[in-house]
Amino acid sequence: MSGDHHPSAWGPHDWRHGAPHNSWSPFILSLGVAIFLFTLAGAFKFGEFQGWGSVPLIFVGLGVIGFSLLVWWRQDMSFGVDGEVFEPKSAGAPFQNIDIRKVAMWMFLMSEMMVFTSLFSTYMRYRFGIPNCQTVFESGEWVEGTSVTCFEPAGHLIASSWFHIAPGAINTFALIISSFTIVQALRYAKKKDMDEDVRRRKVTRYLGTTWLLAILFLTLKMIEWFVGFPLPEFLHEFNHGDSSIKSLYAEGYLINADSYQHHAYDTHYIEAHPDDYSIPEDSALYAMMQAGTHPGGHMMANIQVSATTFYVTTGTHGAHVLGGIVGLTYMTLKAARGGYTPDNAVSIEYFGLYWHFVDLVWVLVFPFFYLY
């Protein structure tokens, strides 16, 4: 049985006779995932950092995963080079004459839809289940100093000023442009009547731009979450006089924020800045303040659940963008070595389907998590 043409389980594979036989990457990838999950749980417990002991092991786990991807690509790198293309089409109803791996990609997208549906259902259940912080504030049923549990949507913070919306808006444009560039890469990879080298450069450049836009998306998101943006001098007075757009971290919108205080919920601040915030006349709090019965002061809110649903849902989407970046790195490398010819260009379409799906999810996440 082991006599015939068994290519090595590590190495490149000659695709002339069909699917690969042996490969080390599944075994090593599973080992890497197990190490990563085990050691990550060793480094943190219920949010407290447990010391640097197991942190290096987390990177060992990621390293093992990376190594197995290298082995996986080593077998695929030879795919489609000088005519060795193995792109079977499906037979029989209902997917006849469609590439088998495109059907597989659609099956994968179906289960991805269920992942994001679960995350959205969690968000809906908590958003409609827990009373909104603004309504609790306006109802006046809070006492300064004790934390009240309410739902503070990130949109209330982000949509409050143009500068807060800016990173999210740029990210949306970035994803749409990257969706477009991946389509262009596919178009030129499939164009038959084209000089070899021109096609190679065009496909590589388009894949490279998609890669760059994806990196931009993640960096903007990280900055928006943790760092914040410094503003030039002349823009300060448009931003309530602040010198920078504060990051969500600086605003205190965190998963452990059980005593979150925002100046939108501070009666003194509102009286001092009437044009920024206003308390609707028909609200109970307004009546209390007129009658002077309300002690006034700063509402303290436990917004852990709203921060958790925001960070985990947008974080999962970010993880899928990261997955896309990993895929794009391999494809750009392969395109640079002239790997994409019209008859194996369809593999760019598979990645395109995944990438458009990630953009599709962002079309839903952006309005309902950032703006609403």
Binding site: F44, K45, W72, V312
Partner: protein, 796 residues
């Protein structure tokens, strides 16, 4: 081979292999053996012993005891009488203490059982088990205390610590204040000698390690006997590497089977330990904390590490063969799906041997699962299952694509064998419901690791969110586990009664019906959980519907036997056994949709009886039928019928004796997940009538019978692999493609075609004569599909 790419030279893997010579391989092998030998004893001492002051000595007097001081307790009998009072004198000699000094020494006495008390001001009682000297009694060499013996048989440990001092440390009372101490340990028994209770984790650890090594030895022996020359030392590494790296659906199927059967054994061992604990009321073989870990891991192991891998084992082996395809659509993803499972099992079991395994039940309800009270192993339990979710999603994608695109020519959707249909429906349900479980598990993992607040009650977290996400996956999961058995039973009954299955089309629609109904009924797991009443009512109605498609299938199987000529082989017996037990399980399941009864029966042993009837009686009996049916095709050897029938008779009888009485216990009010129960006697009111104790002992005994009866099958497998007679291509006279290839099928599966040549088959249809102009549905589908003439123009 393409020119050496920069990547290959950088990795230079090929050079490394040449360096490992034969001698160094032998060295590595012995090293592994020595390491294993060393590791075994440590498994003994893992669980923490008694700790606290009794063991380590009061370290306030320095870490090292000194020999010059000797402590003694007078007045202790050889063995105590029940609740007798004994006067003890606790004293010490030696050390720096001298007569007349202000401070000569002190003592601390600990007794594991009974009650200690003092007679004078020189000693004080910390608690029932601990006495020590007082300030007044800090300058003498002996003290008198009284000890009342316990009223029952116990092993009593006395640990006495004494310290000998020469005056006070600050020198107020004169003397050089040298401070030396020592301790003495005395054990005492009651009138009847009490055996030391075995530590259940040691029992579990030893049993798992022993069964793992037995399995390894058996596999090695079987593979050795299959082809001895492949068993040289230098063939060992490539042979092992071939199994670790294979993407051949047959090899991965075998790997799934070995993993599945091993964990079926491990789950069985846990079940036996649970049954020992429940044999008598008020038993204390397992504490509640240990019992929680055992029933949690029994559930998780049986469903995720035994049943699911065995389904994948059958599917991996049989789907490509039944469809007439060479292999699955995505072979490496197939290998990936398998290798995620053993590592997931490692993660799930990490906590167990240290006594901190997951103790949340296989359902892991919030907020207990994210509370600090839950054992630390729960995080690893969640992490392991996240890997299983990834594995199941990839399996789902792989099989759906294969069945949709790689069927043999001539095999339309309505010509597929029913086992393939059952795997298709099972995988559709699985890969659409398991992401909900994955998201729920990631939420728990993040809550327990990063500190998010999905289920933090103070922050407004909602425990029912986990129940919804879990059971949205949970109910389709239990159908995923039973539907492949339906497929196997349809094949086995049709072939055994020499007839084509009755109502093929209604069988397929029933499978599809179960697939749809599975998603809208999950609310019946939460009838008493505070879920919104509207949803409870809706799911009550939909759960009633579940009986219809399942009923159709059972009646179709019975009708298949009509007019047939039943050939009694072991797989036929198992199929008929399945029909009996699964029908009983289905009927007992119909008691739950009516909420008025469910409020009494929920979380009782009636539920335990129902799901063991459909899980063990349904799924596992279906697997046994499948194993006896396809073993000749997969291994090329016949199983012995005598051993098979013996296995069936012993297992079937002991199975029913094991699970049927649980229905009665449930109605009486025995609650699930309680480590012990109490029966009503004349003096004490318990939660159960008197007979419950007898039934529980009966269940435990039949449980052990059922556990050991399954080893007859394992023995049968070994004998068949080693000395079984060779199996023909089609031993039972089945019609589907897997019987057209040799047994075992060659590495690259080829089928013997009618003209004697070898290749991929095309299916003929005996129903050709029915004028099959396409119906409404299929003509609509025709217009949707990519027609053949469009291909040229598409790839311009």
């Amino acid at each position: 081979m393409p020119t050496r790419s920069w990547l290959q030279s950088w990795l230079c893997i090929t050079e490394v292999k040449r360096l490992v010579t034969k001698r160094s391989k032998a060295a590595i092998f012995t090293l592994v053996i020595v390491a294993a030998m060393l590791a075994l004893p440590s498994a003994q001492s893992l669980p923490g012993g008694i700790s606290g002051v009794q063991q380590s000595g009061c370290n306030c007097h320095g870490a090292v005891p000194s020999e010059s001081v000797s402590a003694s307790i007078e007045g202790l009998p050889e063995s105590y009488n029940y609740s007798e009072v004994y006067e003890l004198t606790v004293s010490f000699q030696g050390g720096p203490s001298q007569e007349g000094n202000i401070n000569q020494g002190g003592f601390h006495l600990w007794a594991s059982e009974g009650a200690l008390s003092v007679n004078d001001a020189t000693a004080q009682v910390y608690n029932e088990n601990e006495v020590g000297h007082t300030d007044a009694g800090n300058d003498q060499v002996s003290w008198s205390v009284t000890w009342t013996a316990p009223a029952t048989d116990k092993n009593v440990d006395f640990v006495l610590h004494v310290n000998s001092v020469n005056g006070n440390a600050d020198g107020a009372g004169g003397g050089t204040s040298g401070d030396m101490w020592n301790k003495v340990v005395i054990t005492l028994g009651g009138p009847i000698e009490v055996l030391e209770a075995a530590n259940p984790f040691v029992v579990l650890g030893v049993l798992i390690i022993v069964s793992a090594s037995l399995l390894a030895i058996t596999l090695a022996y079987v593979f050795y006997r299959k082809d001895p020359e492949a068993f040289e030392w230098d063939n060992f590494a490539p042979w092992l590497a071939d199994w670790l790296t294979s993407t051949d659906h047959k090899k991965i199927g075998t790997l799934y089977f070995v993993a599945g059967l091993f964990f079926l054994g491990v789950g069985g061992i846990m079940a036996m330990i649970i049954r020992i604990q429940l044999a008598v009321p008020g038993n204390d073989f397992l504490t509640q904390e240990q019992y929680n870990q055992f029933f949690t891991l029994h559930g998780t192991t049986m469903i995720f590490l035994a049943a699911m891998p065995m389904i994948n084992g059958f599917a991996n082996w049989m789907i490509p063969l039944q469809l007439g395809a060479a292999d699955l659509a995505l072979p490496r993803i197939n290998a990936m799906s398998f290798w995620l499972q053993p590592f997931a099992a490692l993660l799930i079991f990490t906590g167990v041997f240290s006594g901190h395994g997951a103790d949340t039940g296989w359902t892991g309800y919030a907020p207990y699962v994210v509370s600090e009270g839950a054992h630390y192993g729960t995080t690893m339990w969640a992490a392991g299952q996240i890997m299983l979710v990834a594995s199941s999603t990839l399996t789902g994608i792989n099989f759906l694509t294969t069945m949709a695109v790689m069927r043999a020519p001539g095999m339309g959707w309505m010509q597929m064998p029913l086992f393939s249909w059952s795997i298709l429906v099972a995988n559709v349900m699985l890969f659409l419901s398991i992401p909900a479980f994955g998201v729920g598990l990631i939420q728990v993992y993040l809550d327990r690791v990063v500190g998010t607040a999905f289920y933090d009650i103070a922050a407004g977290g909602d425990p029912l969110l986990w129940s919804h996400l879990f059971w949205y996956f949970g109910h389709p999961e239990v159908y995923v586990v039973i539907v492949p058995s339906f497929g196997i039973i349809s094949e086995v009954i049709a072939t055994s009664s020499r007839r084509s299955v009755f109502g093929y089309r209604s069988m397929v629609y029933a499978l599809a019906g179960i697939g749809i109904v599975a998603f809208i009924v999950y609310g019946h797991h939460m009838f008493t959980s505070g879920m919104s009443p509207t949803l409870r009512f809706v799911t009550m109605l939909t759960t009633m519907l579940v009986a219809v498609p399942t009923g159709i299938k059972i009646f179709n199987w019975l009708m298949t036997m009509h007019g047939g000529s039943l050939v009694y082989r072991t797989h036929t017996l198992w199929a008929l056994g399945f029909l009996v037990t699964f029908t009983l399980g289905g009927i007992s399941g119909m008691f739950f949709p009516s909420i008025a009864m469910d409020t009494h029966l929920h979380e009782s042993y009636f539920v335990v009886a129902h799901f063991h009837y459909v899980l063990v009686g349904g799924t596992v009996f279906g697997f046994f039928a499948g194993i006896y049916y396809w073993w000749p095709k997969a291994t090329g050897k016949m199983l012995s019928e005598k051993l098979g029938v013996l296995h069936f008779l012993t297992a079937f009888v002991s199975y029913n004796a094991l699970f049927w009485p649980m229905h009665r216990l449930g109605v009486w009010g025995m609650t699930r997940r309680h480590h012990t129960y109490f029966v009503t006697t004349e003096e004490a009111l318990g939660s159960l009538p008197m007979e419950a104790a007898g039934w529980n002992m009966f269940i435990t005994v039949s449980g052990f019978l059922f556990f050991f009866s399954n080893f007859i099958m394992v023995f049968n497998m070994i004998v068949s692999s080693v000395r079984g007679e060779d199996a023909p291509d089609d031993p039972w006279g089945g019609w589907s493609f897997e019987w057209m290839t040799t047994s075992p099928p060659p590495a690259h599966t080829l089928y013997r075609l009618d003209d004697g040549s070898w290749g991929l088959p095309t299916l003929k249809d005996a129903n050709e004569h029915i004028a099959n102009e396409p119906g409404l549905l299929s003509s609509w589908f025709q217009r949707l599909m990519v027609s053949d003439d469009e291909i040229e123009e598409a790839s311009h």
